[in-house]
């Protein structure tokens, strides 16, 4: 019975950096990315500035706030999410430009 509440080990694959984050179901995406030393663009961490937006290619998250106040309808349709307000539910594939990559361009 208690297995129902046990957190699952999950992984998040990031593209184009090909980096990977190991985390548990229920973890916050941005928090775990930052804890893993990734330079994920972010600013407010409350879902109001949109700096941490990324594209969910595969998998499922649970939004912790309504993304529509910051993301446009087109972005939502394309699968954009706000990492700072995303609870990870399954393994994910995410498109995000980490800050190191931006500088290299």
């Amino acid at each position: 019975m208690f297995n129902l509440f046990k957190k699952k080990d999950l992984k998040v694959e990031l593209t184009p950096s090909l980096k990977q984050i190991n985390l548990n179901s229920g973890d916050n995406l941005l928090t775990k990315a930052l804890e893993n030393g990734l330079k994920w663009p972010h600013k407010c961490r409350v879902g109001s500035c949109g700096t941490c937006r990324c594209k969910l290619i595969q998998g499922k998250i649970s939004p912790e706030i309504d993304f529509e106040n910051v993301l446009s309808q087109d972005q939502l349709k394309e699968g954009y999410i706000l990492a700072c307000k995303s609870t990870v539910k399954t393994d994910l594939k995410i498109l995000v430009n980490l800050q190191e990559e931006k500088k290299a361009r």
């Binding site: 916050n28 941005l30 928090t31 600013k43 407010c44 961490r45 409350v46 879902g47 109001s48 500035c49 939004p63 912790e64 706030i65 309504d66 106040n69 700072c84 307000k85």
Partner: protein, 375 residues
């Protein structure tokens, strides 16, 4: 055991709010219970100001906080605050209808019917003080999605301040420490002036947000989806209740309740960021908020005083917020609140803290901006 302790220590406000309601219902001198509890809280807070505890995590770094329990409490507090207003309205109804002073028993509680003018004043202040404390739940839930956000709006609307929910998330968290944030009090402003300016500024932000949203959708400002208008309409049941129960007396009592509640709300904003400066566009850091995390304040205000951590890790639940060694007044909210009530005393008190901030936390640009202000 630790889990039980961590989760129940945040129940001070729910318990005291319910005692306040029972005081209003039982009548007589008991209607002052809310004022007395506020006073007792101030004494306990001041007496324990030097005790600062860290957030609790197990050996694997997991929090002891149970999310479903904490959220259930926050959602249920909406009902508690509604009952608080109903209890006050009932007393007003008795007052304007000259109900005779009499006694009866119900469920083991002795209830005094009828109320004197003095006790009605006490009942209104009691209700106002605890309605204002609702900000701590309105604030926490504002950082949530649909249902939590909506409950936050409803809790704030009981104080006529439902604009807070949008302004807090989409304005205060973005512009904190900058003149674009009305909730950040610049140096030299007192808490009374701040209450009006911050309230009006946040409401204007919500107004402009909806104006721009309506324009994008090609709609008129006056539409059924306007969240600024809807927010104030959520306050309509309170207005109807108090006008129905007591006409002008009821309306005066409601306005007093809202005044007290909004003063508390803006006092929290005032204390959280007074005089701190951030260049617009620069990242929010721990140094841009004052912490008030003495033990009683932390448990009573569900860690809202851990502003430094909250503004940097806004996604974090209140029970996981920690001491991050940011600027810290070193005392609790109650003690500081009492100081802010006397502006000359507050200016004297804050000087050493601002001097410390300027020398130890501020960068050159922030110091340059600070030099344009007094204390």
């Amino acid at each position: 055991m630790k889990t039980l302790f961590v989760n129940t220590r945040y129940l001070i406000v729910p318990v005291m709010s319910i005692i306040t309601i029972m005081g209003l219902i039982s009548g007589g001198i008991n209607v002052w219970a809310g004022v007395a509890l506020f006073g007792i809280s101030a004494i306990v807070d001041t007496a324990t100001k030097n005790i600062h505890l860290r957030a609790d995590f197990d050996e694997e770094g997991n929090s002891y906080g149970i999310k479903i329990f904490q959220y259930a409490v926050m959602y249920l507090m909406l009902i508690v605050f509604v009952v608080l207003q109903l209890a006050l309205a009932w007393r007003i109804y008795q007052y304007v209808n000259n109900a005779p002073i009499d006694y009866f028993n119900a469920y083991g509680l002795t209830i005094q019917t009828g109320i004197t003018t003095t006790n009605l004043i006490g009942a209104t202040i009691s209700a106002g003080l605890w309605a204002g404390i609702g900000i701590i739940y309105g604030h926490e839930l504002s950082h949530n999605k649909k249902e939590g956000f909506f409950i936050s709006r409803l809790i704030m609307s009981l104080s006529g301040a439902s604009h807070f929910t949008y302004a807090h998330v989409y304005q205060h968290h973005l512009y904190l420490g900058h003149e674009n944030d009305p909730a950040t009090a610049p140096r030299g402003r007192n808490v009374y002036m701040h209450t009006w300016l911050s309230h009006a500024g946040q409401s204007k932000f919500s107004f402009d947000l909806e104006k721009s949203r309506a324009a994008k959708k090609g709609k008129s400002f006056f539409n059924l989806d306007n969240r600024w208008i809807l927010g104030y309409l959520y306050s309509l049941p309170s207005i109807i209740l108090f006008v129905w129960s007591g006409g002008f007396v009821g309306l005066a009592a409601l306005l007093t309740l809202w005044l007290i509640a909004n003063f508390e709300l803006e006092a929290l904003n005032f204390m959280g960021h007074y005089g701190l400066i951030r260049e617009n566009g620069k990242p929010v850091e721990h140094k841009h908020s004052w912490d008030n995390d003495s033990v009683f304040t932390d448990w009573f205000f569900i860690a809202i005083g851990r502003q430094a951590d909250h503004h940097v890790r806004g996604e974090t639940y209140f029970w996981e917020l920690d001491d991050v060694k940011g600027p810290n007044y070193g005392i609790g909210y109650f003690s500081l609140f009492l100081i802010t009530l006397i502006p000359p005393l507050f200016r004297k008190y804050i000087k050493k803290h601002l001097d410390n901030w300027d020398s130890k936390f501020a960068n050159e640009k922030e110091r340059e901006i600070a030099s344009q202000y007094g204390y």
